[in-house]
């Protein structure tokens, strides 16, 4: 059976119940499992300590945009007024593989080069390990 290739077109991202697919050019959800390593007389052993997650986004800057909703402005407002309040997200890797969780807002950069469309990259810290729903 042929391998089913999934692409960026299978990705989908909503934050605080709003879809940002039209302006997001790259989205990566990274989950890190922190382990301690111990050298014992029987050899090295590992012990899982903590799990962290972060959502990295690269997007066309959408300052001033109304339709679709501006993610840059939403992040700026949330980081300014409620920096300690997490926002729920849904990150679809492909049909049938959906990650959900919460992230804290951060301040997006503003600016760019004269020639190109303005883009911005930022990383949102997750509150906990994402939940993967496989269907």
């Amino acid at each position: 059976m042929a391998v089913t290739v999934i692409t960026g077109r299978d990705l989908s991202l909503t934050i605080d119940s709003k879809s940002y697919d039209p302006q997001v050019t790259s989205a990566t959800l990274k989950t890190n499992l922190e382990r301690n390593a111990y050298e014992t007389i029987d050899g090295k052993v590992f012990y899982a300590l903590d799990t962290t997650a972060e959502l990295s986004i690269t997007m066309l800057s959408d300052w001033g945009a109304n339709s679709p909703t501006s993610l840059c402005e939403a992040m700026w407002t949330a980081a300014s007024t409620a920096a300690n309040t997490s926002l729920t997200y849904t990150f679809t890797a492909a049909s049938g593989a959906v990650f959900t969780g919460s992230v804290y807002p951060s301040f997006p950069d503003a600016g760019g080069t004269g020639k190109d469309a303005q883009t911005v990259s930022f990383t949102l810290q997750g509150t906990a390990k994402p939940t993967l729903t496989i269907s």
């Binding site: 960026g8 989908s12 039209p22 997001v24 679709p68």
Partner: protein, 132 residues
């Protein structure tokens, strides 16, 4: 609300913006070119897909690339070059916000029918998102 089209959201606004330029503006390749002329034609690649998400007829989104060809009569080389430089400047000044102005190719002499034209291409890009 009627569905948007590339014509209504991109090509027509671009042609309207260029209408103020002192030249004959075409949003297609004309059979004959009355100089000075500005001709908007698709560039290659025409569409580029650089955002995430499923593409359907109602969620279509892409980067659209155009070439704006600036054409003047080619008779006296210094005068023709001056004319096309002025036309290029006026076209670039008229390009609306939201367009990336990528580059201007060097002017070349192109024969159209019995006439020689001095032509320079401006490549521009913008992003289109379907709304309906």
């Amino acid at each position: 609300m009627a569905a948007s089209t590339i014509l209504s959201a991109v090509r027509q606004p671009l042609a309207t913006a260029l209408a103020g330029v002192s030249a004959n503006v075409f949003s297609y390749v004309p059979e004959s070119v009355p100089v000075p002329a500005v001709v908007v034609v698709p560039d290659s690649p025409y569409f580029e897909f650089d955002t995430i998400g499923t593409i359907t007829s109602s969620t279509f989104q892409c980067k659209v690339n155009f070439t704006i060809s600036c054409c003047v009569a080619y008779s006296s080389n210094p005068a023709s070059l001056d004319n096309i430089e002025q036309l290029i400047i006026s076209v670039i000044a008229a390009i609306p916000a939201g367009y990336e102005i990528n580059e201007v190719q060097r002017p070349t002499v192109t024969q159209v029918g019995a006439s020689n034209l001095l032509v320079a291409d401006i490549s521009v890009s913008t992003h289109y998102t379907q709304t309906n």
